[in-house]
């Protein structure tokens, strides 16, 4: 119900039947609007999916509002040290720095080893954590989609080779591989994105390939082929949009796993200096013996944040999968 072949004529091939440019655009817009409304109605019924969406909206708000809140003074600068009983901002290394302060009314989650406000670091951490997860996922979906498309549409020995490589990445213990990749390319923000992206594309490739295999036998692809459309155009204009919704649901689920992976790799110290992610926060707390000092919230709060955001993505991903995957729809 969700992915019918378009009813709107598709560009120049339509011949004299092509309506004026403006009205094609309008029809497409209306079509899109109708589909969105229909999708929303189905989605709204999924309670877990809505819960996921709300969680994610909260974290998106955190990520986007961090700079604004800091500049208006509602949130402390995550890099500045705090001094004295009233926790005023002071220069790093001042005499009365409040290091390792337990949570109180002034600093909600206490301060860290450099007397910085843990709460504002947690708030800022949402930015890079979500960004890395999303970036790695986008790249990994890109690799997976291209491999799956080529493999499924061209078939033959190319398919065979690509699928063996995919098999390898599919069974590979992802964390082991990501660790060894990082040992080679070194720590850092982009290296971490690459290491995560390279380890997660295989299941997408499989998914896209199976979609392409079934789609390429459909009549609308046959028609396009008969009309003399080139292979690349068929794959991208006719097949890809139809496989996209499943890839999207998969992407949402992958972001969750990517965030978990990032947090452990950051915990091991593979993130660049001065970048704040929740994994880095846990690492700093753990490395500065928050456990022994009894500073429970310093170590627990970033973890809970990870749990919440990963749960948001997982719930949303499952709900989308259930709506878009024809195999599951009847449930």
């Amino acid at each position: 119900m969700f992915r019918k072949p378009r009813t709107v004529p598709e560009g120049p091939e339509g011949g004299e039947l092509t309506p004026p440019e403006e009205s094609v655009f309008r029809m497409r817009l209306e079509n899109l609007w109708r589909r969105t409304v229909r999708f929303w109605r189905v989605f709204r019924a999924s309670r877990l999916g809505m819960a996921g969406l709300i969680i994610l909206l909260i974290f998106t708000f955190m990520a986007l509002s961090a700079p604004l809140l800091t500049s208006t003074g509602l949130l402390r600068n995550p890099e500045s040290a705090l001094c004295g009983a009233d926790f005023h901002v002071c220069s790093l290394g001042s005499a009365d720095e409040m290091r390792f302060a337990p949570p109180n009314g002034n600093v909600l989650l206490g301060t860290d080893q450099l007397a910085r406000d843990v709460f504002s670091r947690l708030w800022w951490g949402s930015q890079v954590t979500i960004l890395i997860g999303s970036l790695a996922t986008v790249i990994s979906m890109g690799i997976g989609t291209v491999v799956g498309m080529v493999s499924g549409y061209y078939g033959g020995w190319l398919d065979e080779i690509l699928m063996r490589i995919t098999d390898f990445f599919l069974v590979l213990p992802t964390l082991v591989f990501a660790l060894i990749l990082l040992a080679i390319i070194g720590p850092g923000f982009w290296n971490m994105v690459i290491a995560i992206a390279v380890t997660f594309w295989a299941s997408t490739a499989r998914l896209v390939r199976s979609q392409v295999l079934s789609l390429k036998e459909r009549q609308f692809v046959e028609r396009a082929r008969a009309a003399g459309t080139g292979k690349i155009r068929i794959v991208w204009i006719h097949i890809f949009p139809n496989a996209f919704s499943l890839v999207f649901a998969e992407a949402i689920l992958t972001i969750a796993v990517a965030i978990l992976t990032e947090s452990f790799l950051s915990f091991l110290g593979f993130m660049s200096l001065n970048v704040i992610t929740w994994g880095v926060l846990i690492e700093q707390a753990y490395g500065n013996s928050a456990i022994e000092r009894g500073l429970v919230w310093w170590i627990v709060a970033p973890g809970l944040a990870i749990v919440a955001v990963v749960m948001g993505f997982t719930l949303l991903g499952y709900a989308l999968d259930e709506i878009m995957n024809p195999r599951l729809r009847k449930r």
Binding site: V171, A183, G186, F267, I291, V310
Partner: protein, 325 residues
Amino acid sequence: MSMRTVLVRKTTNAAITIVIILILNFILFRLMPGDPARLFLSGSHSTSEDIVARQREIFGLNDPPLIQVEKYLVNTFTGNWGYSFFQQDRLVVNILAERAVWTIILVGTSTLLTLWLGMLIGAAQAWRRGKTYDVASLGVWFFFYAMPTYWLGIVFILILTAMSPGIDLYHNMPKPIPTDLWGQFTGGVQHWIVPALTLTLVQLAGISIIMRNSLIDVLTEDYIMTARAKGLSDRTILRRHAVPNARLPMVTIIALNLGWVLGGAIQVETIFSYEGLGELTVTSVENGDYPLMQGLFLLITISVVVANLISDFVYAWLDPRVRLE
């Protein structure tokens, strides 16, 4: 396709995957930053140029590429995986064998526990599908599913140290290691419980959800209706008719999950300083211990591939529909 062709094909594919692993293992570790000879000598007193040159010669880094490949293959298959750089120059194979035992204990027991509990929980949920119990435990398991494994380990440490200060949670044995066998056993069990529990909880989340969905699929089949019409009790239907069918896919899932579980084991072992393969992976990456990393990569990836292949055979053997074809 007959059964035989499928299994032959699976075996060929696994063989090809292992070839890819061997190739990657050769290339990856030649891309590593730094000169292995220099790194190897960095701990010793003298790093003069001719000693470095001689070490390069010993490592065979000056040989032509083809000879290097040949030496690599011969060494890999004869178990000559070299010496560790930093672990008192011990043989990589010996270190791996010693560590593997502990990881097998940890991953094996927690996987068995997960399977058993996962089936119970999944079955209970599927039976009460859509009821409060089902929805509530789905929520709980999604919560555990979303948890970073290493962080769950930290939380356990926090809770347990708060409950009984001075509790010894780290390492796989009490230090000093008890001399009598009974002491070793109880000490081992004490140090095993918390890491195994952590790994089980995290695995259980995924497995129980899969088991629930698999059982829900089975419960909608006609033969369940037939069983009900025959007047069998709910208990018999569930235990004798539905669960055996629903747990069949578990064989494949456990094998497919192995790579992921090892990822969890790395995290748990790191947090609890549990001396297994996972903790070894992290320390060897941090130290730049190339021979050890290479050995770990080879051992872990190949065992995952082999486990997957075995699961295909077991599945074919278990499922009469596949076997009799």
